[in-house]
Each structure stands twice: as C-alpha cells, then as structure tokens.
C-alpha cells in the first residue's frame, strides 16, 4: 500500500474539482492506501463546521468528517483560512490547521502527489 497526498485548492462551492479530490481520497483509503489532503486557497472555506447542505451546492463537512474517521489526515492552510474569516474554534473537529510546510512534509513521505490547482 502507498501514500497519496492531494493538494486541493479549488473552492467547495462553484467548482467540482473539490468533489473530485474528496472522492479520489475516499477511493484510495478504501483500497488501504494512506491519504493526506492539504486544503489551500478557496478550498479552505470548506473547513467551517455546521455547513447546511443545500442540494444545489456540494457539501464538504460530512465528507470531510467521513474521511477523517477513516484515518485520512486533512489539514487546512491557516493563513488562507483566517483570511476568509474562519477561526480555528469554528472549524470541523479533528481537521488540522498548519502552515504550508505541512503539505511539503507530507509530500516528502508520499509515493504519489496530486496537486489540484484552484481558480
């Protein structure tokens, strides 16, 4: 089994690349791989807890929580997140907050890296 690190930069709402990142992560962890997800740019808007799932919009929270339960490590870029007005106390539990070097450190130990750029 290998380690896959996904850098996810697109926003949750308005861009289905975010959905792709989470579905790929789920498929990889279901096959027994170790998966890390780094959220940066507009993707960091998805870490706020208590999201209302309106069916016209993708939802992040329940999928992020499910991935966390499966052992996926998920970390949000702290600077990107607070720049969007979200504080750590408002975030989804067990989701990590760190600086960009977290992503690079995870890449260091990864067999595969998929960097999904945003807008």
């Amino acid at each position: 089994m290998g380690t896959l690190t996904i850098g996810c930069f697109p926003g949750l709402v308005g861009n289905m690349s975010y959905d792709f990142a989470l579905k790929l992560a789920e498929a990889a962890v279901n096959k027994g791989h170790k998966v890390n997800i780094w959220l940066s740019g507009n993707a960091t808007g998805s870490v706020k807890a208590h999201q209302k799932h309106l069916k016209d919009y993708s939802t992040g929270e329940k999928y992020l929580k499910a991935l966390l339960e499966k052992g996926v490590e998920i970390c949000t870029c702290e600077a990107c997140t607070v720049a969007r007005g979200i504080q750590k106390t408002e975030g989804i539990e067990k989701l990590q907050w760190n600086a960009m070097h977290w992503y690079l450190a995870k890449i260091h130990g990864s067999d595969r890296v998929l960097q999904i750029g945003g807008e």
């Binding site: 290998g2 896959l4 289905m16 279901n30 890296v113």
Partner: protein, 98 residues
C-alpha cells in the same frame, strides 16, 4: 518518467500537453475533460486523443453529464474512481492536473 495527466477541462489543456514528454504518458479525462472522450466538435474527435496511447475517462463524470460508455471513443478506457487509484499507483510515478 511515467506521467499521468488529469485533464479536467474541455478547452485549455492542449498548450501544456503539447510540450510534455514522458516515457509513458497517460491521460485521465475527468470532470468536463470527459467531453474529449465523448464529443466530436464539428464532427472531429478531440486532438487530445492522439496525444497519448493510454487514455482513460471517469465513468462517474460521464454519467453525471447524461452520457454513457457507448458515447466514449473506442480509444478511451472507461474507469471508475477505484480504477483511477490503481492506475496512479501501479502504472505511473508522477501526476499532473491540468
């Protein structure tokens, strides 16, 4: 290098792809990129289908858009998310998202 390129748009991808060289190059069509595998513009198949011998398109994204396997060009293998995981771990060593 063995490079798998994810193409997620119908336009905008060929400029970069034209120049990439790899010992083994695969293209995985996802999101709106699946139109490369399903759609003929003015009757002509996407030029990207000539760029690599190994072509894949994501079943979930084809079906989401109201199409099915029968709409996919014969050169393209239809795969699901689980297949994509196997492809990127077993057949390629580097990944690019365009």
């Amino acid at each position: 290098m063995k490079l798998a390129v994810f193409v997620s748009d119908f336009k905008l991808a060929s400029d970069t792809l034209d120049r990439l060289k790899a010992d083994k190059l695969g293209i995985i069509f996802v999101a709106n990129g699946v139109y490369h595998a399903t759609t003929k513009e003015n009757g002509k198949a996407s030029a990207l289908l000539d760029k690599a011998p190994n072509l894949y398109a994501l079943s979930e994204d084809i079906q989401t858009r109201g199409m099915n396997d029968a709409d996919v060009d014969k050169r393209v293998k239809v795969v699901n998310y689980g297949d994509v995981v196997d492809i990127i771990f077993n057949e390629y060593d580097k990944l690019a998202w365009l």
